[in-house]
Symmetry: D2
């Protein structure tokens, strides 16, 4: 809530303004973790997470200093591959998501009305500037999701509920400001190459045997704290056949993410718009893969990665770096991670 | 321009729709570099830049593989310091800049109307999700500017003009999609400590002797391709006394940026909302420092860095990593770089 | 959902796209009116409304052709008073509400790149244009609320629930596209003048006796279908002392709105930011007046009216006209009604 | 510029903040009317307008009290026809224009955290509310343009220039807050019926003889101050064949608007997305009709009117009412005028 708006209204003794960030204000904090209401029949509480009841970092806890040092050692050439796709309003988006930008060059006109305007700008140095206005959601393009993006019913990771977490301006837990910079080992798993295809089929369920086979083919083994990036080839449709791209996707099945959770990887990413096969393994459980990853495992996910350059260059191990804007309470960030090798 | 909007209108034989990205459409491309009109009296063309007439990467060209490898070698402990500040609508902003986010939890309601809704969500797994709508400019918070953000009159870096570069959706040159991931050596220059102050004064002009003195005190020398981050202490006002924070700032003077340009550094950042002293050295030339950096030198700048942790820990050399969302045509990105040491 | 986004995704046999306007798509319609769950202890269903179970027009049903003709007859001079306040980002707003506009003059630059640009514009007629980008809510400024803006628990007017009504893009019932143009008799009730004050006190509860007294003083009687506009004088704080303006307000109490409902008026408006006293009559029931008006009575409300000119001119009866933009699913419209006399 | 942003920055003695509304701030006002630079060869200054050099109301000056009284007398039945179309993100838009709305129901969650929450809402009355966030331009849907929307080169109505008029937040002249409520006589001119067609052809130039013929057929004569609404039948494509709808349109030619200017009408509207034929009469002068209307004549225009009901009912004379939200500096308003008869 803006300060200009944050005039504290005392209404019948009740403060209605709330402070952004949740430090203060009229809204009480709420903690529903001990009261596991609202679970579907047969569902058991999945919390506390293995990282503790108060954890918000999930699988990023796996990235220890030792993991970082191990990753650093992979850089041999000092070269970088960009894993992000360019985002604009035409790039394919999940239904309901949008992104729009408008240039603001009004300073080129208004600066001419300054008392010391000169020629075409302000001051003897004729300065001018251009900005932009953007409107949309961060759930678009190459994106890093917050583990708070998805819920089971009204429950988040670690058992928090919508009532506990949601503010008008975003999430008071799990917002992107809680996600640290990520520097770790990256592993590209080229499942498409392993299967001898340029592009896996829509709905193809990537299994443990695909992971093992692809890694064996590449001569690479997974380690704790890895950023595991799956190349399915599906991303080759981006910008070329967006309707097909959005109509479904191949992706890791439930058995595979169980394996990755066991192996304590830090991130699972892919060249698809979601993670997991669409249609999914169980027609009665839509988007079960990312839901399980985020809510139960606290396992971070990356979507719409540009993995094709790494695959073409057969770079399977690298230093993975990902920093993002820390916008408070956001459920995702538009990103462009990099592979350094 | 959205595809849905991109219906090509043939008006009197003239196509009025333009394709985003500039690949096609009714607008001709324009190149005013050879015609140096509009310069103030006594101004000489500053182009082509030392990186070539067609260059858009400016000082980031200094980051060669050798530079990357040198930076990689600085990581000894595998630890990371986050250099970004959290952004929300209350954080201090330059007049006219804004940022607003609203949570979207409508899926928690609409999913209940799906044919196979169960309990509180969709499917037997009761999935729900939350997103956000954001509106604002990327010229806020900890930010990486495009070198296209500032102009001299109507001229950009390398002599392009507003006519050449501006589209309704942003910039067709120098947009953030043209800025690569950044992995290089970072150097913190603690000028505040060198001057024996917690915070340099407003308008203090950081000179070459301050740089040299601070580096000598730290026992560090600059190299080509460095990300040079200046700790002025001014950032301690952020969120505590925003009015004072925005009222001015200390910063590098013209002689210092000339030196840094000579030394071929890749980035100059600070814990201030702009770069350079405000009020400036020459009252008739407002914001001359960033203008010179971006337009004439192609030297990239970073604002509102959280340098205090590095300063407190006396970490003066480190691996600097910065990746950002590649939103087409934007003049900046909200970022949070990291120092790995 | 945009058509460009409305690619129908068949996921496990489930359509996830929904058509805006509710004509089609994967979401079923829902009707919870017959199942009065979720009411507080002791609360009785308030539906169906007196205008029928399917009604969305509420008190605007009172405006019959005869009412219109009666109102038309009040115009004697052909003069008009504007009852709207100018809206910008600085005008006072309820906490959490915002409004921001940015000019878009990019056409002045891009038109110069058309093949037949001439001088400073497009074509021999040198045409250019300017637009704007706006971001915010319609719940600001002089506004006409939808009766769907407020709920009791999760129930709307006529017993609909949030599950029934909410779409990602707005409300599928009671959106501003369902509100017809309003042409009826307007009556200004100058309660401030009746009480001998320039401005009623914060929290002052306007009672039936105030209405009767003020009308008697004015020599005017209410009729079915009237737009009743209350001048409290509170609006004189707008733009002069916004903190006080937003800190509370005088307004009609519950007995008065009961009387107005009996008299079958069509609209109740005031020169305050909400309707009803703040603090309210019952400290345990915040904003009970507009809640009762919208949810139980279907009585439309108007906020932040500029009533001072009518009061100063002692114009107490007039033709009231109000047309508004029909944005689908919106909970309010920013308006500027007019009094013709 | 928001107050929260309006911290007056004194930079080298220069105030960079500007107050919205132009009351104060660091930007000087500018008046280029006396210096007619920048006109194309052979162009003569078109200012001052016939309403005076300082006028902003243009043709709305024609609506005198006598005109209003004459219009009032046309209401015989007390019935109303709505002339507005519903606007959402799917309705057809000119390339580059957009509109997006997202529901905000966060109060249904956050209210549960108030100290005195009860059941599903706040207080014993369990109050909740819903709002929306909208992003887009007002240059969409059924719209009333400001006469400041279009320019000749950099010149507006009455000779003002872009330098004089443009602020970062909109226009300091001709914004929608300067447009008064409109109550006048409306005349539907059914040119389609006169020509014996359901829909005039794309590019059809409606001439003076069409106007005269249609009026004669209808038995109606124009008067000063009229709102002249042309039914071309083109609006029947809206929402049915948007691609054709946007591909061009029939409309009044230059001779016809000259005639209407002579007759001193107040408004010219149509059931098309612009006013005037597309392709136009002169292929070298795109959009010459609205440009001439707004910039030279100050004649207000209305687009995307829903004229079909009036045409079907053969209602050719009526009371025309149009009120709109007074958003400061906007170039248009989304509206829904009404015909009362």
């Amino acid at each position: 809530m803006g300060r200009v708006l944050g005039l504290v209204l005392l209404l019948s003794g009740v403060v209605i303004a709330t402070a952004q960030g949740g430090e203060a204000g009229g809204l009480h904090s709420s903690d529903s973790r001990r009261d596991p209401h609202g679970l579907a029949a047969g569902m058991q509480p999945w919390w506390p997470s293995r990282y503790g009841a108060d954890d918000q970092r999930g699988s990023l806890n796996e990235i220890t200093p030792a993991v970082v040092l191990g990753a650093i050692g992979l850089v041999k050439r000092g070269e970088t591959v960009d894993l992000g796709r360019v985002l604009d309003e035409d790039t394919p988006k999940f239904p309901g998501r949008y992104w729009h930008q408008t240039v603001d060059l009004s300073a080129h006109v208004t600066n001419l009305r300054r008392p010391d305007a000169q020629g075409k700008g302000w001051g003897k140095n004729q300065i001018n500037w251009i900005t932009e206005i953007q409107a949309g959601t961060f759930q678009v393009g190459t994106q890093l999701d917050s583990i708070g993006h998805i819920q089971i019913g009204d429950r988040f990771y670690n058992g928090w509920t919508v009532r506990d977490v949601v503010e008008s301006w975003g999430l008071n837990h799990f917002g992107m400001e809680t996600v640290p910079p990520i520097v770790t080992r990256g592993v590209l798993v080229d499942v498409a190459a392993f299967k001898g295809k340029a592009r896996l089929d829509k709905g193809y369920v990537i299994g443990v045997e695909d992971l093992d086979g692809a890694l064996a083919r590449q001569g690479v083994a997974l380690r704790q704290g890895d950023a595991v990036l799956i190349h399915t080839g599906w991303g080759s449709l981006w910008g070329k056949d967006d309707a097909t791209f959005l109509s479904g996707e191949p992706g890791p099945g439930m058995a595979l993410i169980d394996r990755l959770y066991e192996r304590r990887v830090a991130i699972l990413g892919a060249d698809t718009w979601s993670i997991g096969p669409v249609p999914g393994e169980d027609p009665e459980r839509p988007f079960l893969v990312p839901q399980t990853m985020y809510v139960k495992m606290g396992l971070f996910g990356l979507e719409n990665l540009a993995t094709e350059d790494l695959a073409a260059k057969r770079i399977y191990e690298f230093l993975f770096v990902l920093t993002h804007g820390k916008t408070r309470g956001s459920t995702a960030a538009v990103v462009a991670p990099a592979a350094v090798y």
